[in-house]
Symmetry: C2
Subunit: 882 residues, 2 copies
């Protein structure tokens, strides 16, 4: 029979730290800590298998499960000496979700479970604190009503507010025992009114309902959104931890806190955390009260502090990584409630990784696995220009680094709306999981309450966005849509800048500068370069981008889109005339005008690239993209006629429309573009090749090395490549003859049409290199227009039809097979064929790893993604070793 429940307690656990799949991260951590002799309140973990069974069987539990729970409760009773439902010495427990991958605040938690009108007596007696006990009961009814039965929080809060008004007090704690007793009665009535049922007095019934509710919370909307954002599979399921309650709110010799073994923001090796005295665990994370820094604890409870430091230092060594822990002190006794790998900023991750290598704690290879490649993005984010004088209006906690400017917005919904028009900064009292979509849309987050581990801080760091938390000098009125600070009023829509690295809140917009890429980061990236086998190139069209790419470590240009050069303001009119030309002769005239401009472009690129290979793609988009829009012309002409404009002017416009109509396409993506243009208008290819080769020859004559690789786009048939290659070779020969130099150059092709991948063996006979255009390959392989897929792709993701957006991460099961086919067949014909990728997937870590596994020579991505690709490529090698 399957085992559904794992006990931990009395220095011995049935599970261990490796069993995250089954016990979740929290459960595995509790088991591991218990086994290591660390003080952990005893309890048991219900496995993720039960959760999955629950979902597969319409909310039923597996057979034998009930009995297992009962056995474990009995064991817990033996371990603690307390008894469930006992009026004398009642066992109270917490019920907490805990998935394999941490989803902070996303699922449900219930505390103080086991209290009822009988067991409260025992709690009063044992705690010797009637008010504390009744308050615990009140909290249970409220939490249970809200979490398990879905009663709105406000229904309870209204009663609480009323009581505080009656008692003329400000804080909950100031209420009298009788007032709290009244509230318990009142809450129970609310519970019954709203649910039609009595609050369940039976402890076991409470537990059963709580377990089901936690399982159900796995699929609540915010958890689903969080998983989608963080690419966590929906079928992992959550475990549930049932743990003996310890109380941090039993007076001022009690408390609760969270901490990190190193600073999660900077990575500095310094014990780091926050706590609240006389508080229950959720109070710290929820950000209702602003907690104290952990150094304070050294003064207030030196023994506890010392023990905590020793335990967490041991944990860090044991897990060989920074720990994020939760603890509670009950009447001076320390309990560890959780330990897990600490989330951190990219800055911190790099520093910690490099430091730990120096400390001899981990190897370079392990260090490289400690940073998710996507996190590097944060390191490349701008910081405030230090030369600019700024108007600092407030200071808060530096909760997530980076700097951002935007207009102020007060709700998540509006953040989503307004962000479509420009950058916004989301300003909130405190954030909650319901705000995630707004945080996603905003450039930065600013809260008045909450600490470094508040919801806002944790989520913002995960998103790699600047965040300032606990900026209490701000008086935020979400209702009036204004902030009052030092007598100044700042309105919605005003510009604000936040510096998440220092906590400075600044009025107005502040220019930013790029961060330095040396120091720890430089060391770290060198380790990556030492290990990776994939080359990393950049997609760059202009010298400035090429320079950035080189700075970020690119080893060549994988894609230069020559048509981007056509879109320059002063060139568009010439390009238009070229397109509208009636004869080849006329077309050549305008191409001749474009020639020197393109030559200058390439000269600039070649110079920046200093002999690295530069792949230049001949013109790709359909010509009508350069012309005025058809429907606008139609409206214009209709109005000209209506307004009886001169016949001649109308005729001229109509002639233009006629040509635009001629070029108009129903499906431009599948139309007259790519090499199809070069085949029908070989003179365009000729001009581009001439520009490339003239630029290369000029430099070569000066003794510089240049390595142009000319790439023909959209090849689906070998004969297309043959046709265009003939043009390239003819023009290249002629230019080299004119200049009297010989240059090594390659002619290759994009593989971006499914037929191209399928017939890659034939195409490789003519191509000197392949570059997979995975954007188009995905479009055509899936039959998804990237411009239009928005109409259904979200439904696809939310229905679970697709696990991730195939335009972001290569669809390995489908498009990936096409790529694999292309590589295998291409190399069958030409063993040493140079093969790379230049779609936007080239900067996506999962896709980069796929490119490594499938045997490509290099990836090419936007300059800012080059370091990401470098790390992903190194990790791919390390993952393969396993």
């Amino acid at each position: 029979m399957a085992k559904y429940v794992y006990f931990f307690g009395g220095r011995k656990a049935e599970g261990d730290g490796k069993m995250k799949d089954l016990l979740g991260g929290k459960g595995a951590g509790l088991a591991e800590m218990t086994n290591s002799g660390i003080p952990v309140p005893p309890g048991f973990t219900i496995t993720t298998k039960v959760c999955n069974y629950f979902y597969k069987n319409k909310g039923r539990m597996p057979s034998g499960f009930k009995q297992e729970i009962q056995k474990n409760i009995q064991k817990l009773e033996r371990t603690t000496g307390k008894r469930f439902g006992d009026a004398k010495n009642p066992l109270l427990v917490s019920v907490r979700s805990g998935a394999k991958i941490s989803m902070p605040g996303m699922m449900d938690t219930i505390l103080n479970l086991g209290l009822n009108d009988e067991t409260i007596k025992g709690l009063i007696k044992k705690s010797n604190d009637e008010k504390f006990a009744w308050d615990a009961y009140r909290r249970l009814v409220q939490m249970f009503g809200n979490v398990v039965m879905g009663v709105e929080k406000e229904k309870f809060e209204k009663l609480l507010d009323k009581k505080k008004k009656e008692g003329k007090v400000k804080f909950d704690q100031q209420l009298s025992v009788d007032a709290i007793k009244d509230l318990v009665d009142g809450f129970k009535k609310v519970y019954q009114q709203e649910t039609g049922k009595k609050f369940p007095p039976d402890s076991l019934e409470q537990l059963k309902m709580a377990i089901e509710s936690v399982f159900e919370s796995w699929n609540n909307p915010r958890a689903v959104t969080y998983r989608k954002l963080n690419k966590i599979p929906d079928d992992l399921g959550t475990a549930i931890n049932i743990q003996t309650m310890v109380f941090g709110n039993m007076g001022n010799d009690s408390g609760t806190g969270v901490g990190f073994t190193r600073n999660p923001s900077t990575g500095k090796k310094k014990f780091y955390g926050e706590y609240l005295l006389n508080a229950q665990g959720e109070d710290v994370v929820a950000g209702v009260r602003t907690p104290l820094p952990i150094e304070n604890l050294k003064k207030e409870m030196p023994k506890v502090y010392q023990e905590l430091w020793e335990i967490t230092t041991k944990l860090e060594k044991h897990y060989r990584d920074t720990q994020d822990f939760e603890f509670t002190v009950e009447n001076g006794k320390l309990f560890m409630l959780q330990t897990r790998i600490g989330k951190r900023t990219a800055f911190a991750a790099v520093k910690i990784a490099v430091d730990m290598v120096k400390e001899g704690l981990i190897t370079e290879e392990e260090a490289l696995m400690r940073l998710a490649p996507a996190q590097i993005d944060q390191l490349l984010h701008p910081i405030l220009d230090p030369k600019v004088k700024v108007d600092v209006i407030a200071r808060g906690l530096p909760a997530s680094p980076g700097a951002a400017s935007g207009t102020i917005i007060f709700t998540a919904e509006e953040a989503v709306e307004k962000s479509k028009k420009g950058p916004v900064i989301l300003v909130r009292q405190e954030t909650c999981p319901d705000d995630i979509h707004g945080m996603d849309a905003a450039k930065g987050i600013l809260t008045a309450r909450g600490g470094m581990t508040s919801h806002a801080a944790v989520v913002a760091r995960g998103m790699g966005k600047p965040c300032i938390a606990g900026c209490e000098t701000l008086q935020i009125s979400e209702e009036n849509k204004e902030i009052i600070v030092n007598g100044k009023t700042i309105k919605e829509g005003d510009w604000l800048t936040i510096d998440g690295a220092t906590g400075r809140v600044i009025l107005g917009r502040v220019p930013t500068v790029k961060p330095s890429l040396s120091g720890d980061f430089g060391i770290f990236m060198k380790w990556a370069d030492k290990i990776r086998k994939l080359g990393v190139r950049a997609n760059a069209d202009i010298p400035r981008d090429a320079k950035t790419a080189i700075n970020f470590g690119a080893e060549g240009i994988g894609l230069c889109r020559t048509e981007h050069m056509f879109f320059a303001q002063e060139r568009v009119p010439i390009v238009q005339k070229m397109i509208l030309a009636d004869t080849e002769k006329e077309r050549r005239k305008f191409l001749d005008e474009l020639l020197p401009m393109q030559r200058e472009d390439f000269l600039g690129l070649f110079k920046e690239m200093k002999g690295y290979p530069v792949i230049i793609r001949t013109i790709d988009p359909p010509l009508h993209e350069f012309l005025p829009k058809r429907e606008e012309l139609m409206v214009e002409i209709a109005l000209m006629k209506e307004r009886k404009k001169p016949e001649k002017e109308i005729k001229k416009k109509e002639a233009l429309l006629a040509r635009v109509n001629q070029l108009h396409e129903i499906n431009p993506m599948l139309g007259h573009r790519g090499c199809r243009l070069g085949i029908t208008y070989p003179e365009i290819t000729e001009m581009q090749v001439r520009a490339i080769m003239e630029a290369a020859c000029k430099l070569a004559k000066k003794g510089k090395t240049v390595l142009p690789e000319i790439m023909i786009p959209l090849v689906g048939h070998i004969n297309e490549l043959k046709n265009q290659k003939a043009v390239v070779v003819r023009v290249a020969k002629s230019v080299m003859k004119d200049y009297g130099v010989k240059i090594k150059y390659l002619v290759g092709t994009m593989i971006e049409i499914p037929r191209g991948a399928i017939t890659a063996d034939e195409i490789a006979a003519e191509a000197e290199f392949f570059s997979f255009g995975t954007n188009d390959l995905t479009q055509m392989g899936f039959g998804f227009s990237r411009d239009d897929a928005g109409k259904f792709i979200n439904d696809y993701l939310s229905e679970g039809i697709l696990k991730s957006d195939p335009f972001q991460t290569i669809d390995q099961d489908g498009i990936g097979k096409l790529i694999g086919m292309g590589i295998k067949r291409g190399r069958k014909t030409k063993k040493n064929l140079e093969i790379g990728i230049c779609g936007e997937h080239g900067g996506d870590p999962d896709s980069v790893k796929f490119c490594h596994r499938i045997g490509m020579d290099y990836v090419s991505c936007s300059p800012f993604r080059v370091p990401i690709a470098r790390l992903a490529a190194a990790q791919a090698v390390l993952e393969e070793k396993k």
Copy 2:
């Protein structure tokens, strides 16, 4: 060393009838006839290999070739006793092209080669006819000048016309010897003026130039067009036949003719042909003089007639097929110049095939190979409604069967232009190869001159178009664009009807009726059905089409496009309201209105199909196809504003535009369509499945058999199919429960997305059948939008980048591989998966054969193509046996 030249003569040839690849059709035929003892003027054939060498080596001949020619000329001189360039007994030869596949009139021919100022003397002496000899010389200079040197015909004709005027004669033959001598001089001068060179007197030089010219004519524009139209590969090359001249123009005991062993129009077993006395070969084919029927020869030259009959009867038995032959009688002696398999109408082909099986000459299997499947199309063409009284204004030769109405047009260019607006009939004095594109565009062809074997007749039969030739009562003025007949004037643009089966020319439009499919055709198709393994279904959306399909032998419906039902006039407004609905509830309301209509549609289909399987595809096109056009709305609104229409009306239109904009797509082909609609709007799928199953249940309750196969379009990912299948199964179950019957039904999918083919193994786990949508698979696999590919596909075909239009014939090398992958992977998962095709390729013979080879279960095509597919499927089996 390679052998480049094959001799024939003296009852013995170096080649034989099987060597068509090397000697061309004509050369192989001459060799075979020579070997059979049939009187053939001796000569030799230059192989197609020389032609290919010529093209690969920029017009050079292989080494040793010249020597081989010389040796063969010497052999020819020994055989004939004549000598090349000899003034006493000169050897004169014809130089004719002859490819493997006959291309009548497409390439060059030169007669009388070997004449010069010396050899003319010998010809005069031998022929004893000075005028004949000089006329032969004149013809050589003209033909050589025109064909070899490209001098325009008119330059010579002008001189000839002048001479005739001077001599006051009407026909060439009436000119005096001196006049003709003068013409020879004059022609030589024209030759020198136009080419800058003297007419070459040396016979060997003449021959060398003529050979090169014939090779060059392989790539003249009309030959290239002909090959493209008839899908003849460009790299076959042509052979050249050098043959001793025999003269049909040596007086009234001479003549020349062509014939068939059976009637090529009706297939009747009756000796059939035409001849001209005192004429050279080209005169018959060119249609300048109208020849006499071959029966006349029986009276005029009974011995020759008898010999000809015996020879050709022997040839038919020898080749086991109808022969098309050319002969010349020189001073009473018969020579055979050519024999080949006779081209025939589809009518004739079926009759001849069935007759020959009855005669025991061939087997049923051979008979099935005697008809190109595409030809069947001709049999399905309409004939004139016999019940309608018609106004016959003239009668001509019934040159190609079928009937057509159209407006009159006089030039090929205008035929192409005007045919875009409506059907046209091309009316010409006579047609020539330059007219091919006009003939292709016209619905039918009518000529005043030429016989059953004239250019117009041969080409029209090949194209399967009605043609009346030699309708000499018509006075056609191409200049005035009118026809005068019996005093009536008919103008360009007037309606005319021609009946190619009877030769009747009828004024006005005449309704047509479908031909009968029984008799010989029925027997023939039964043989095909006996042999073929592929099933043949039809694409049909409405009961009428289903009925036609059944009549044509369809065994089910392979594709019913349910959206075609949405386009019915009375339904479009409801469909629009459904699309514009803001909520699912509203959408369901309008879907409920559509439900009974769709149910009636399916009821009708199921009734017609009498228990055959019916594949019904759920909605496929993007919804905006049902809405007004975006750009038209934009113009309308702009004008309403300009005209200051009431604000309310404008707002209403703007709201419509907003919704249209919302649904607008950049690439609708790759957009929100197919199963993507069903996934985002499951209620549409629900309604359609309900309509299908209710119709099926109604019939089942009456005891009828129904076999619905519900097909989900555009599936690229297994999860898409899972999602839609769940809807289908749920609704089907519920309907069957309501009706209290159980129906066998299948749920399957289109494979039309490349990713669908690639992941067919996964998809097959959920699909009960696959239907390859090769239209979309070609679009996405090639990245060609069918709507837009017109902008480059012609360049692709003329540049030889593609051999044929992939939307007409499956691209076996690329898309075919995807299909193969889909089948293999699908069957790997589900061994007995039902697999078919429903793209338009299902009616293309080559594609049908491919579908057989690759292991499909059936093809589905438009009802009119069903018989074509049946024959192609049978031929595929027979071809495999070889």
